[in-house]
């Protein structure tokens, strides 16, 4: 068993943001977590990365409970468990390669960090990763000078630089236009297929979850209410997850270009 999540709960005051979440992952997969805003998706990912402490429960990766880790062990886990954010969370005033090199900070000393001394091998590897994501030309630019889609790919490059076992993506495409959203999701899927890394992504849109994920978990009010393959995610199941009535239509909120095309085709 690669990943075992057992009764994980997070309380904010009296309210449970994540309520007794339990699921298992046998082997590396691309997993999508869907649900409406405030369902506890982000809180769950933040607990996995240990940005937020859980109130109770266990998350076991390779048999170790990562919710117990402290100090250096915790930071070592964070280095193994990369995180990608909705707003990219790069250092805006530093160049792209430096931002990617931040992925190695767990292995660097404070002094080397202060003077920005990274080994040449790491710098070359950072540029190779940027090239793999198609943005090597942006290497010397400041991160803030890049477009949203490019910044998110820099964030993915930083995650890859960590050489992580898991990549967590918290709504990675929610701030991007449809074209860039596709590029970023394609990149995440490729990383999963080529490197065999586990990817867990919070997603806003059902069609993205269906298209890219091997498995979909639905959350509502902190509870896991759906866990299955994309095929099992029918419109009825989606309505349950989002707590919507019969007027709920997937196409109305879809951001994928294909859906837009078909919609236009139908109305035309």
């Amino acid at each position: 068993m690669l990943l075992r999540v057992e009764n994980v709960t997070k309380m904010f005051g009296q309210k449970a943001a994540v309520d007794n979440a339990t699921f298992n992952v046998e082997k590396s997969a691309m997993i999508g977590i869907i649900g409406r805003s405030g369902a506890g998706k982000s809180t769950f990912l933040r607990m996995m990365n240990r940005l937020t402490d859980a109130s109770s429960g266990e998350i076991k990766f390779d048999g170790h409970n990562i919710l117990d880790l402290k100090g250096g062990d915790k930071r070592a886990w964070q280095s193994d468990c990369a995180m990608i954010f909705q707003q990219f969370n790069l250092v805006p005033r530093m160049d792209v390669v430096s931002n990617v090199l931040h992925g190695t900070l767990n292995r660097r000393s404070t002094l080397a960090t202060m003077f920005n001394l990274f080994p040449q091998d790491d710098i070359h590897r950072a540029i190779d990763i940027l090239d793999r994501l198609g943005i090597a030309e942006q290497a010397p630019k400041r991160a803030e000078a890049l477009s949203g889609g490019q910044q998110q790919r820099v964030a993915i490059a930083r995650a890859l630089m960590q050489d992580p076992k898991i990549i967590l993506a918290d709504e990675p495409i929610a701030s991007l236009d449809p074209m860039n959203a596709q590029v970023v999701m394609d990149a995440l899927r490729r990383i999963h297929e080529e490197d065999g890394r586990m990817v867990i992504a919070n997603l806003h849109t059902l069609d993205t979850a269906r298209r890219y994920c091997d498995r979909v978990i639905g959350m509502r009010d902190g509870r896991i209410v759906f866990d299955g393959t994309p095929d099992q995610l029918t419109t009825g199941a989606a309505r349950d997850i989002y707590g919507a009535d019969a007027s709920f239509s997937e196409e109305a909120t879809s951001t994928s270009i294909e859906t837009l095309d078909t919609a236009e085709y139908v109305t035309a």
Binding site: I123, D131, G134, A139, P140
Partner: protein, 290 residues
């Protein structure tokens, strides 16, 4: 997908080389700056030490003599301490009063000046440099200089100190306030302009509500600083606890017990207001909710 796979490998060695050049240059500049900085610091210290009248290394050993004498003398007359504390308390109140009044006056004047000297908000955009320079001047002249001149003109007492600190506070807070104003959103101001509001109405309803928490936070910080300033001004005859301290602190009068009591009062007051203002500033900046 095309963008992901299309990039040919041929460009990468070039990009690597280019970036390594950039890094090497940056490191060289960084190293040079660090070397120059270290050199300047070391040579500066050596020069300062050689010009020091008594010699830094000889004097440093005697640095505890004075506190030692004050403490031992105060310890001998420890039984008088409560009476001294009661005796000097009104002087402490006077000092805090000077600080409070001058902070209030300075903040109000600073508010007006800051609005007049912020680009985008100013009533008379052409006069911005005038208001800015006048604040610079108020900030540049030390309180103690203004106080000395005013004491010469008006005679000793709390009023010259109050005016001196208020002037300095106006310049300092005006500058900080105008930086806050620059970060304020102009959208509400534009909205009010569109309904035909006057400049004063636009500022009062469009800007002040946005910036009030930051203003208050800066004003509280300034109040702390002004308590210390008003205590120091007592030394030049502006009344308050500083004046009493100066009288008690002179060598060889045997009044070090009084000096100790004044120190305790002053230290206690400053710590108290420090804690109070940092508590309220924290509440203001972290969203107001308790």
């Amino acid at each position: 997908m095309a963008e992901l796979t299309a990039s040919a490998g041929s460009g990468v060695p070039h990009i690597r080389e280019h970036y390594m050049d950039l890094i090497r240059r940056k490191r060289m500049y960084g190293g040079l700056t660090l070397a120059i900085f270290t050199l300047l610091m070391v040579s500066g210290f050596v020069l300062a030490d050689s010009r020091n009248a008594g010699g830094f290394w000889d004097g440093i050993l005697n640095v505890f003599d004075f506190p030692h004498q004050v403490l031992s003398e105060a310890w001998e007359k420890i039984d008088l301490l409560p009476a001294h504390l009661v005796h000097f308390f009104p002087a402490l109140i006077e000092t805090i009063n000077i600080a409070a009044v001058s902070t209030l006056i300075g903040a109000m004047l600073g508010l007006v000046l800051s609005l007049l000297s912020t680009r985008g908000l100013a009533r008379f955009p052409r006069l911005i440099p005038l208001f800015r320079r006048s604040m610079d001047i108020m900030r540049a002249i030390p309180e103690i200089v203004i106080a000395l001149v005013l004491i010469f003109v008006l005679g000793g007492g709390p009023v010259p100190a109050m005016i001196a600190i208020a002037l300095h506070t106006t310049g300092a807070l005006g500058k900080l306030f105008s930086e806050v104003n620059e970060n304020a959103s102009l959208k509400p101001v534009e909205g009010l302009q569109s309904v035909g509001a006057t400049w004063f109405q636009r500022m009062w309803l469009g800007v002040i509500p946005q910036v009030a928490p930051n203003y208050l936070s800066y004003a509280l910080l300034r109040f702390e600083i002004n308590i210390r300033a008003s205590a120091i001004l007592g030394f030049v005859g502006a009344g308050g606890i500083g004046y009493e301290l100066k009288n008690a602190m002179s060598w060889g009068q045997g009044k070090f017990d009084e000096a100790a009591a004044i120190f305790i009062l002053l230290f206690g007051a400053i710590v108290l207001f420090d804690q109070l203002s940092s508590y309220y500033r924290h509440r203001l900046t972290s969203g107001g909710a308790a």
